[in-house]
Amino acid sequence: MIAANLPALQVVLPLLGAVLCAFLRRGVYAWGVALIVSLAMPLIAIGLLIQVLDSGTISYAMGGWKPPIGIEYRVDVFNAFLLLLVSVIAAVIMPYAKRSVEKEIPSDRQAWFYAIYLLCLCGLLGMAITGDAFNIFVFMEVSSLAAYTLIALGRDRRALLAAYQYLIMGTIGATFYVIGVGLLYSMTGTLNLADIASRLAGIENSRAVLAALAFLTVGISLKLALFPLHVWLPNAYAYAPSMATVFLAATATKVAVYLLLRYFYTVFGASIIFQDLPVSNIFLILSLAAMFGASIVAVFQDDVKRMLAYSSVGQIGYITLGIAIANLTGLTGGIVHLFNHALMKAALFMAIGAVFYRIGSVKLDDLAGIGKRMPITMAAFVIAGFSIIGVPGTVGFVSKWYLVLGAFEQGWWWLAFLIVASSLISVVYIGRIVEVVWFRPVSAAAKRAEEPPLSMLLPTLLLVAATVYFGIDTSATAGIAGRAAEWLMVGVK
């Protein structure tokens, strides 16, 4: 019974957990509930992944109504991989969260904070697993509203502003998405993604469908912070509570990328997207702009969290670059980077969160010499930073390797050159932090600092270890990403 209902449990458990958290008044109990739920998530996700790898796509009819009448949950290689990513990050964060949240959130609000966190998790998983266009919107809103709240709970008053800006941009994005779905629905009469795809055959080039494509792309791009639409992201990540930053940076944008790929490949079909329309070129230009523009802005930031946030915009550029390259290797690179970037960004933000836990600041000047006080944390930071740069032996290298290969296969040698060149910019900003942290005299703020508690240190080290492990043994991540890319490419023809 449990095995057959795993898709439903994956989303419903966090929801029930949130309900329970809202009932409990004490933050510690709520944390316990959130921990149990978060630890159960990867187990369910692994179960789903095994089922999918064994027997192919799973279709689960919500309420027992066969699609397209009811809502369908559809798990395939790609989104099983994504579910695993999101739930693993959630599970690793929870032990870390306890101390961090105790420090940053008033005690009478912690239970609600965990409820909101679980709702955000529920929304993200729901978006990833469902096969119904409108259901995606509903869960997108669950996760977005929760994300706005998580951000607004940051201690700085600018967190409120960041949350407000994100709310406006995010709602415009969601509304664009709804317009797109509405146009598709008017043309096909169904909301099930697979059904839409089959009924679109023959009318792909009609004007309403093209407009739907445009609205969906812009709407989702707002959510995934594609280059010119990224303005909400740096402030949001910079001022959110540490734990929220880790979680959102590692998962929220990734799910949006997944949605984009899902619409491009399985709904509209790659042939129309990449052959008839200039989507590939547009994404290529925007990705390059993100890789260079956002990375250069990152170099000039004085707030480390903000710097990492801009770096995220740049790194998202690599993922969308994988979409733009549009061959099997490039797409594999994009999907692997989706996973890898989540790992390394989570590790970086966790390390910085630990610093914030100790010294209450993330200004670069205050961090001077902190490497001598918190050597393990900062060593972890440096390794994860190497991964952002793409040093061989880390995950960052693997994804860039695939992207470069993909660029060569396409005959775009100049693109390969640009990928390497943009990595050099990340050398500059990571190097800047490393220099300040290790080679400057200890600042006044950093004097009293010491290693963070084990509950914060261990998850960080675990993620850093994962960035190295998956950087050396690429068979698991690249293997599954390759299968997902193959599946997307085959699903087209």
């Binding site: 929801l15 869960f139 709240t149 309403a208």
Partner: protein, 180 residues
């Protein structure tokens, strides 16, 4: 058609008026007009919701916020060229898209032929509920409604998190505007 034109007129009013109180009241009028349009479009359930939410709850919340903040809007400093461009581009995409849609009120469009007849034909025997909107909402697409309830739940917790408890006054320029 008259109602739709009125809606447009109210919208222009909302853009023009700088007194936020007036804007909120116009917003209420807008919601009532919208509800009337929805009745014309046979969406009685939706009309009821729009009237109670748009003109009821939203108005109360807006007025509550106005009470806590201020009621005059200042003239924006920057030029409206970029926003205008964004809005016009969106409009152009919509004109481009919607013109290919079937004309108004026709029964044999893809939207009205595929799954909708199933709901209309089977609601009674599947669920014994004659209001098809209710049966689709609660049963056929019940999971959407669960998500919707989760959204409300999220918003409720979120607002309580943000506004409950004592006011923690943070340092910052306090400029209380004079209320009229």
């Amino acid at each position: 058609m008259v109602l739709l034109t009125l809606l447009a007129a109210v919208t222009i009013g909302i853009i023009r008026i700088r007194n936020l109180f007036g804007v909120v009241v116009l917003g209420g009028i807008y919601s009532f007009l919208m509800a009337s349009v929805m009745i014309v479009l046979d969406a009685v359930d939706v009309a009821m919701t729009e009237a109670s939410v748009g003109a009821g709850i939203s108005m109360v919340l807006m007025l509550g916020t106005l009470y806590l903040t201020k009621t005059e809007e200042t003239v924006p400093a920057h030029t409206p060229l970029l926003p205008l461009f964004v809005a016009v581009a969106t409009g152009a995409a919509l004109v481009f898209g919607t013109f290919a849609l079937p004309p108004f009120g026709v029964a044999d469009t893809p939207m009205n032929l595929h799954v909708a007849p199933y709901y209309l034909g089977n609601s009674i025997q599947d669920t014994l509920v004659p209001n098809v909107v209710t049966s689709v909402l609660s049963s056929y697409r019940g999971f959407d409604t669960l998500g919707e309830t989760a959204v409300i739940f999220t918003a409720g917790i979120a607002v309580m998190l943000l506004l409950k408890g004592k006011r923690d006054v943070k340092p910052g320029p306090k400029r209380r505007s004079v209320r009229r």
